[in-house]
Amino acid sequence: MKDHYELVILGGGPAGLSAGLYAARARLDHVMLEKGAPGGQVLLTDWVDNYPGFPEGLTGFDLVERMTQHAKRFDLNTELACVTEVDLSNVKRKVLRLEDGGTVTCDSLIICTGASANSLNVPGERELRGKGVSYCGTCDAPFYRNMHVAVVGGGNTAIQEAEYLTKFADKVTVIHRRDSLRATKIIQEIAFANKKIEFLWNKRVTSIEGQTGVERLQLVDNDGTPSVLDVQGVFVLIGVTPNNAGLPLQLLQADKWGFIPIDGESRTTVPGVMAAGDICSKDVRQIVNAAGEGAVAVLAAEKYLQSLK
């Protein structure tokens, strides 16, 4: 890895890979930093049916593989690195501090660090993680063959994962704190037609219990009535929290949840710093707009780099 680049792309999910594709084609002096293999949250998705250009649908895995191959075809430069701090105090020389003690500097930066699954923050959740508490149906569904599991949440991810879980589990109970789902209509229709899926409305999980693994959930109705649900697993799919550790949130004027606002050109409030994908402050977090923002961010970076010359 070099000490300095014109452009650093921080993160290798769909936003980062799309930015990487555009940066490589623009022949910018660039690097995409990722702490593992590229992919991000899409790797948690069993099936992607709404990314244009793939009429048959494909797995999240395959989509990432294709995006990576696509960018590599134009010589995308990637490095395995874990960035612990982004220092934007000197706009002319943006500094990234790495876990191994090294630093990388750049003229322009695209932040594509994404988001990760929210926790319920209830007793038992941390203790039973990996022993019945899961945040990824696609990863862990095969461990629940012929069992009864719960899914907490009512959005696209929750309902799609509930559907996927019925391929293995005998019964899937969806627990949602409202009386209707937020998921896209077509996803709802499939779930309502699935006899293995049962819905518990207006309920919240107050604790997760079990000795060596999950045995039951304590629930409470919105009117305060408690109840118990015996399950061997619980999948927590209640939205995302931004991966913003080490980012200068005040300088970037992050929103109250810690997501970063961008303008129509993916620019943040700091000159030469763009953001793309799920880290951005927005209502819609889809693969397709993440990829779009990644492309737009590179065009903004090019303009910024031009202005320095």
């Binding site: 992919g39 790797l43 993680r129 990996g130 990824c136």
Partner: protein, 108 residues
């Protein structure tokens, strides 16, 4: 690539490897698991760095159902550190390199 330095472990060899003099980190994974794939390059990196000191191994849970069952594994990736055949500690989920280094250091 340090790929060949990662030991591919199976049910039959498991006991003899984790009971050997050298501590062993086992990455329980499956080909259909995205986060397992994400963590792959980090495991390869560690295998290079700890060569001769800690055995870095991977076990495919699809091909080897007995061992994951024995350790109650119900989520992957799960990484378990063994010393003298005993579990020292474990982590579940796609974590960063520093957390894995901290896990490995518990064998000291």
């Amino acid at each position: 690539m340090a790929n060949d330095k990662v030991l591919q472990l199976n049910d039959a060899e498991f006991d003899s490897v984790v009971k050997s003099a050298q501590p062993t980190l086992v990455d329980f994974w499956a080909p259909w698991c995205g986060p397992c794939k994400a963590i792959g390059p980090v495991i390869e990196d560690l295998a290079g760095e700890y060569e001769g000191k800690v055995t870095i191994a991977k076990m495919n849970v699809d091909d080897n159902p007995a061992t994951p069952g024995k350790f109650g594994i119900r989520a992957i990736p799960t990484l378990i550190l063994f010393k003298d055949g005993q579990v020292v500690d474990q982590i579940t989920g796609s974590v960063g390199k520093s957390q894995l280094v901290a896990l490995i250091n518990k064998a000291k």
